[in-house]
């Protein structure tokens, strides 16, 4: 029960927000995570923002993934 997807907040009005993923827009409720601003990437579950994506942490993780990929010897045979 963990289907939650990062979406970018593009509009907000009190507890109501509009979030966007790859061009798809949906209303989200900010009632569970009000300390956001337009442009933030929110984790959305069942129509509610439950968390926020920390840009710096995401960057660090991606950096690690790139390093791991670079040192990888390649794929395994199926």
């Amino acid at each position: 029960m963990c289907l939650a997807i990062p979406m970018r907040l593009i509009e907000m009005d009190g507890w109501k927000g509009t979030a966007e993923l790859d061009g798809v827009r949906r209303d989200v409720s900010l009632a569970l995570f009000p300390e956001v601003q337009v442009g933030d990437y929110l984790l959305v579950h069942a129509g509610y923002a439950i968390g926020k994506v920390d840009e710096e942490e995401a960057r660090i993780t991606l950096q690690l993934l790139r390093e791991v990929a670079e040192h990888s010897e390649g794929g395994l045979e199926p």
């Binding site: 029960m1 963990c2 289907l3 997807i5 979406m7 993923l21 790859d22 061009g23 798809v24 827009r25 949906r26 209303d27 959305v44 579950h45 069942a46 794929g75 395994l76 045979e77 199926p78």
Partner: protein
Amino acid sequence: MKGLDKILLAHGGGGKLTAQLVREAFLPLLDSPVLAQLSDSAVLPELPPGRPALTTDAFVVEPPVFPGGDLGYLSVCGTVNDLAVSGARPLWLTFALILEEGLDGALLQTFIEGAARAAKEAGVSIVAGDTKVVPKGKGDRAFAITAGLGVVPRGVDLGDLNIRAGDRLLVSGPIAEHGTTVVACRHGMAGSGLRSDCQPLGSLVQALLDSGVALRAMHDPTRGGVATTCNEVALKCGLRCVLQEDSVPVGKEVAAVCDLLGLDPLYVACEGRLLAWVAPEDAERALQAVKSHPMGANAALIGRMEEASPGSAPVVLSTRFGSQRPLDYLSGSDVPRIC
């Protein structure tokens, strides 16, 4: 259609109102000389040489008007496509509607205009029709039922039993667009790129037939999506179908909606895509033939057929991590989920 605000029970009664509905709503928009004769049955010219092909379909869609189409447009395209993928040239269609009392006249007009537009694009004629009206609450605004008649020219002989191990599978464009678009509408999601792929495929099929490639069979994957169609085919021809995850074209917005709702695009309906099975030596040529048609710009080769092996699923997906997972027949309806 002057003054038609709401559909009444009497519009389906067979009397004055019915006649008025046919004369003022249907005939002007459908522009069909045979239909205009309003005989009990449409007596058609002689069939061109070849084998006749007949199909029937029923259409229910929520919402009835969606980005890229409507119930009427969808009905005609769906019928035409069933004929086209069998190798038939679609010629004549019937178009019947069961309407719910209280339906907006404007909505009915949209359906008829949609059907007319699709017929024109497909080069077919709607030659017979019928309308019934059910009491309010007994029908979800409108249901459409069609039949389509075409002719398979001599020398065209397609079918799943032609498929061999080694044959390649191509799709004419990005998948899951229709199903995703309507489910997005139902769940309050909007996106400028979300649009049903609903379109008549006759001319695309013709382009493929004209290319002279060794074409085994074609299908248009509708409800249940590409995975379900592949399961049907694999079962029919007794072979195994292996799809390549990275080769299957999926639009970004479609992928986003599916991610948000927990749907798998491989199981979501298309309404204007062609799946074609071709001999391996002709695969590239077939792909080019489809790609050079406006409806096939984003076509791709997505898989191959192999000998079946015991204990192994008929349809599998080869993932980008080198593993294979079975793509089973869809069991039950695929509903949005949170888990």
